[in-house]
């Protein structure tokens, strides 16, 4: 492999990792606060794409309004899921909430199949969904950098900084951190815990919508199961980086993106098994450092 090809692989990897990171943040925030793995997160991501698609195609919004609409509507969907499915189980055993999350995921997938249809919808700029300039390429020598990749990376980094600011510098963030330690005690301090939890879901789901739209621009199709594999990968990324940690999700996302691309780059004959490779990374991290790279040991709540 020559140097240009290696650089090209690296660019591809960063572009994939950036989207994983955006989705992983949603997993990690919900986990950090509720100790709940929100398996419906990948499907929330799918709905983000569908909402943007129908915003343009059905409601004839300009693309940027449709995208903003999708981000807010998906955030609302996340909050709705939390209110309907997770809130009634707040004091139930953790396993009940986990199974509910899987149920919500199945429901969202099948609901999408019934309402939007099983056939893939095209998220192609030629159908007028968004300007073709998003698909432009910057060429430096033999290396091609998609504008979309730069956009993905900057959005990922900006959202991470913004989230860190919210979590560590604002009152809401302080409440979030408190809830992650002890919900009843936080309530006693006069914090409306339910509202803070809903807010967490709003943030996570909004980011999933952004990730979804970027994903669909890169891989221009959407069908009811679009979010399944990226969702799983992002979950792995969150665990690898240390679930519960925002920086960890970011690091995990990039690690996963880079290793997935590099395994294909260096051992092309294994390319068909790259999903299996992602699971192998998950197993390895769980065996060697279960808290993940940037995770901290949390003592089990009794």
């Amino acid at each position: 492999m020559n140097f240009a090809a290696f650089l090209q692989h690296l660019i591809n990897a960063l572009s994939l990792g950036g989207i994983y990171a955006l989705i992983a943040i949603g997993y990690t925030m919900v986990y950090g606060i509720l100790r709940l793995i929100n398996f419906a997160h990948g499907d929330v991501f799918t709905y983000g794409i569908y909402l943007a698609f129908y915003g343009v195609v059905l409601f004839l919004m300009p693309w940027w309004i449709a995208f903003i609409f999708s981000i807010f509507a998906t955030a609302f969907l996340g909050a709705l899921i939390e209110r309907i499915a997770y809130k009634p189980l707040r004091n139930a055993p953790r396993i009940s909430a986990l199974i509910t999350a899987i149920g919500v995921s199945f429901f969202l997938q099948n609901f999408a199949t019934v309402v939007f249809g099983g056939r893939a919808k095209s998220f192609n700029p030629q159908t007028g969904i968004y300007p073709t300039s998003f698909l432009a390429m910057i060429e430096i020598g033999a290396v091609k950098i998609p504008v979309l990749t730069l956009l993905t990376l900057s959005i990922a980094i900006v959202s991470m900084i913004l989230l860190m600011w919210i979590v560590y510098k604002t009152k809401v963030g302080m409440a979030m951190r408190a809830i992650s330690k002890d919900i009843p005690a936080t309530r006693l301090m006069g914090v409306n815990a339910d509202r803070i939890i809903t807010f967490t879901f709003i943030l996570g789901s909004g980011l999933a919508a952004i990730g979804g739209i970027l994903w669909a621009m890169k891989y221009p199709q959407v069908y009811p199961y679009t979010g399944m594999i990226p969702g799983l990968k992002a979950f792995i990324a969150a665990v690898v980086g240390g679930i519960g940690s925002i920086q960890g999700a970011m690091v995990g996302g990039f690690i996963l993106g880079v290793s997935e691309i590099m395994i294909v780059a260096f051992v092309p004959s294994l390319a068909g098994y790259r999903d299996a490779f992602a699971y192998a990374i998950l197993l390895f991290v769980l065996l060697v450092k279960p808290t993940g790279i940037l995770g901290v040991e949390v003592s089990e709540k009794v």
Partner: protein, 375 residues
């Protein structure tokens, strides 16, 4: 005691009378209605719906009996495809089965149909193993050894390809098979090739493509399914690939153009049907009926599903029976059936008809007929 005998006699008499009375013919259909290749199943079902509208009854014992098709979704999943056939036979009690589209699903579903001795006519599963050593499985399409050879010849003679990158989906029997038949012929012709691998449902192919492009192929051969093909074409062009794209019948869905847009422009592929191809006397009336019904161009999957439905109905009429084994024998004896995708005759002891293929290309965002290749 006498009364009991009378009752029993009456029951037997009634059962006999009712059994002789056929009120409905139930045919099963198992297709990929949802999942990553939902386009195939949906197109096939549209073809069958039209066929049912044009021919809602079958003539048995001098009476027109209504036909009912029970459709189940196999989600494009092998295990699900087997379950669907099990359910169609055990619960729905169908006398014959249509579908599925893909070879992997047809292999799994066919094992069940064979074991339960109910005939299954697949519309578009082209892998040779689908019907091999199976008495009850038939198809309405050509098979991959022929398609692979045709594609290799086309790449060598028409595209003047010397070095071909082949993108292989390791999870699909159809893809692995078609790639192998292509390689065999292409090597024979003197061409060079290499393979890159992926898995159904993958969306990112940049790593494989970056690797492939560093080996300077003049053609990328895509024996996979349309949604992956569309994504691969997009990513290959974005990475600077200037050569040809070549694909098999798995490319044949409108989603290819919707998703791939300008990136699939100029792609060549082989398939079973094109509305402008004169494949049989039945083609033109079908195209007209289809356009009238759906107000869009007919597709290969719908055309062959249409053929599969009529093939089964013809067999039932010849068998004059709803016994699945008798229907199977009648299907096997099919001779010169005028399907819309060409005539179908099953050679002795085989479920594979010899059929023409068409080569299409994507031109100005439309599937355009290039040529018809007759066997």
């Amino acid at each position: 005691m006498k009364k009991v005998y009378v009752v029993i006699a009456l029951v037997i008499a009634f059962t006999y009378v009712f059994a002789a009375e056929i009120t409905e013919v139930k045919i099963g259909a198992g297709w990929e209605m949802t999942g990553p290749i939902a386009g195939f199943g949906q197109m096939s079902w549209d073809g069958v719906k039209l066929a049912m509208k044009l021919r809602p009854t079958v003539r048995i014992g001098g009476k027109d009996v209504p036909v009912k098709v029970v459709l189940l979704d196999n989600k494009g999943d092998k295990a699900e495809a087997a379950n669907v056939v099990k359910r169609l036979i055990d619960v729905e009690k169908v006398v014959a089965i249509l579908g599925p589209c893909t070879s992997s699903c047809a292999l799994a579903a066919g094992a069940i149909a064979e074991q339960k001795q109910v005939a299954m006519v697949v519309n578009t599963a082209t892998n040779p193993l689908v019907t091999q050593n199976r008495r009850f499985i038939f198809r309405a399409c050509f098979i991959d050894p022929m398609q692979g050879e045709l594609l290799a010849k086309f790449a060598w003679e028409n595209l003047k390809s010397k070095n071909v990158a082949i993108m292989v989906d390791v999870a699909q029997d159809y893809v692995v098979g078609l790639a192998n038949y292509f390689k065999k012929k292409f090597a024979q012709l003197g061409g060079k090739f290499f393979e890159e691998y992926y898995n159904t449902g993958d969306q990112d192919f940049t790593a494989q493509l970056t690797d492939a492009l560093s080996r300077n192929p003049d053609t990328i051969f895509l024996p996979g399914y349309y949604s992956e093909i569309a994504l691969i074409c997009k990513q290959a062009r974005e990475l600077g690939f200037k050569g040809n794209f070549l694909a098999g019948d798995g490319a044949d869905a409108p989603e290819l153009i919707q998703i791939g847009g300008k990136f699939v422009e100029g792609l060549f592929y082989t398939t079973y049907f094109h509305q402008d191809a004169d494949l049989s006397p039945a083609t033109k009336p079908f195209v007209e009926a289809y356009v009238k019904e759906y107000n869009r161009r007919p597709d290969a999957f719908g055309a062959l599903a249409f053929d599969a439905y009529n093939l089964v109905l013809d067999a039932i009429e010849r068998a004059q029976s709803l016994d699945p084994v008798a229907i199977r024998d009648a299907i096997a004896a099919t001779k010169d059936f005028q399907g819309v995708g060409g005539a179908i005759t099953f050679p002795e002891g085989s479920g594979d008809p010899i059929k023409p293929a068409v080569i299409n290309t994507v031109k100005n965002g439309q599937f355009t007929l290039m040529t018809v290749v007759r066997p």
